[in-house]
């Protein structure tokens, strides 16, 4: 079972070391991890996607992470009331004669072409992982040169903020 955790941490040196060392030390299974600045100057928000066997293991992940001194808050963002997104950039090998075909696909997925040259183009897409997976698969037949994905970020619906609840 996969769960998305919003982990609010102090923006201090060593925080990522502490978080990643704990994950490795406790043998937790991490699907993705994404970190960035937030609305508060000294808080970094890490979105973790964990794969756990049961509720007890999820509880362990939350409790063990909570013990880290620099972890201020953890919220489990349950799939039904939160928005998940990931950003991907896909570099596809593409000769000029097939550009139109690929642009059609790009439009269907509401993706964007962000760079084009004689032999390749770069496509940017944001969305849920399944949508990105689907486009990557379709583009596979044209020859994908590189895929870069950010990992999931997520936010709850409604006016509430993770730092508050």
């Amino acid at each position: 079972m996969k769960y998305t955790l919003a982990v609010l941490v102090e923006d201090k040196p060593g925080v990522l070391t502490h978080v990643s060392a704990l994950i490795s030390r406790r043998a937790f299974n991490i699907v993705s991890i994404a970190a960035g600045y937030t609305e508060e100057a000294d808080i970094t928000r890490i979105t973790l996607v964990v794969d756990v066997d049961d509720q007890y293991e999820l509880e362990q992940v939350v409790h063990q992470l909570s013990k880290l001194i620099d972890v201020v808050k953890i919220v489990v963002l349950d799939g039904t009331d939160s928005v998940h997104r990931e950003l991907a950039m896909i570099k596809v090998a593409c000769r000029p004669e097939r550009r139109a075909e690929i642009i059609n696909l790009v439009n269907v997925f509401r993706a964007h072409v962000v760079d084009v040259n004689k032999e390749a183009m770069i496509i940017e897409l944001s969305g849920e992982e399944t949508k990105i997976d689907a486009l990557c698969e379709l583009l596979g037949e044209y020859g994908v040169r590189e895929i870069v994905r950010t990992g999931r970020i997520a936010v709850s619906r409604g006016a509430g903020a993770a730092r508050e609840n």
Partner: protein
Amino acid sequence: MLLSGAQIVIECLKREKVEFVFGYPGGAVLPLYDAFYADGFPHILPKHEQAAAHAADGYARTTGRTGVCVATSGPGATNLITGIATAYMDSIPLVVITGQVIVPLIGRDSFQEADTSGISTPVTKHNYLVKDVAQLARTLKEAFFIAGSGRPGPVLVDIAKDVFVAVTEFDYPETVLLRGYTPPTVGDEEAVAALARKLQAAEKPLFFVGGGVNLSDTAALMREIVDYTGVPTVTSLMGYGCVANDNPRFFGMIGMHGAYAGNLSTKATDLLIGCGVRFDDRVTGLLEDFAVQADIVHLDIDPAEINKNVVADLKIVGDLRWSLRSLLERVRETPRQEWRRRLRPWQEQLELWQKEQPLSFEPRKGYVMPQAALLELSRLADRRAVLVTDVGQHQMWAAQFFAFRQPRSFVTSGGLGTMGFGLPAAIGAQVGNPGRQVICVAGDGGFMMNCQELSTLADLNLPVKLFILNNRYLGMVAQWQRNFFGGRYACSHIPTKTDFVRLAEAMGVRGLRVTEPERLTETLREALGCAGPVLTEILIPEDEDVLPMVPAGARLDQMILGGMSR
């Protein structure tokens, strides 16, 4: 007041009322040592950084205060790691100060550089790298607060050498503001009320007392609850001393080398109440079959311990100083006689099991038996003695046959099982408890891992009484090889040519030896009566097993029994 970083460290130590530091100098901490020199700050110098960490640990375990140790960068810091990990596993409060290379040299594989904060991360409660003298005082204040509060543990502060030299205005913060760290104190009263109700209804309740009771200094509360209700009580290795061994409600240690009655009680109990325990695999045996018939109640300050190994039916998260006090008040609402009347059959059942299979051993003609040595030591020791052990067979015999009477009187590496822990930890215990008898029991293997500290004992004239149970084997390894590896003693037979008595004498410690059972008592008496440090080598049989034993992965009632019952 303008102070250098080194002077700030010393000021902070004084504000935290640190009595001693255990440390070893080196390049990156030279400015700090220069400040120690100028100040005359009390400093204990062992012969190896690992011993400094274990000594600070032994000091902390016996005094309840935070132990402080110091080492230089690189190898100094890495030598501390075993000691830090030992303290971490047993939740012992330490503040560890290490030097680091100067800030411009960090990350360049400089001389004596190691990533100390990186290496220590998985074995510390928290750690810091200080690169700016303006952060030093606040960092040390936080370090002491974190180490000693909540579930205690070691905190490492790695300080760049140029920070020791830099000068700043000294301002020691009065309070600590850490929004990610609020140790639980008072918890859910309703949960304690629920426990009291369960206890009222149970026919076979059992208290399982752990190291948390020692660490929170709640042994007196625990004793009151046990004495008032008469609920039978068992312990983990770390919980010894909380309820005295001679209490009629006390049925010994449970787990791999637990007592027969204790282990059987876990199978029969209908309400197991774990107080400050973490249900280690050495305690539970086969996890699925641990306390199968019981409702499990878990009291702990660390929410992460709940449901980690054993799923609790009722959790009480909070400081034991709150939860046990609350529980005591609630159990007192029922008259003492009523408790006794209801629990009598259960108490009698446990007494019967204890009578059936007491801890025992088979004497062998012409040999000093290790169990007999521990029994005799227990009889001759001061009532307030501290017993320190190393790790291995002797440690289990000590747990089984020494009579613990007081909390914080048994110092042993339970979680990590660190060989070489005993002698340096005894040094720390003696430094922290002058005038109190400190006895250290070690095996011939573990003793040799830090035997250089005999020299420290002599140099400081610390009156530690060291006893080495010498069986010429790495005894616990050999026991497993004998029982589970077809008697193939791979690298566990160590018939060393080292003469322990002469080794002791060479280092300035008195040496005694006993080989015949007839001379055991007088030799132990002589050793305990010495004014200064003394090493006593006790030659024991080569192939004695620690029994009972629950093989790894077996149920607690599947014990290999021993002694007179074999």
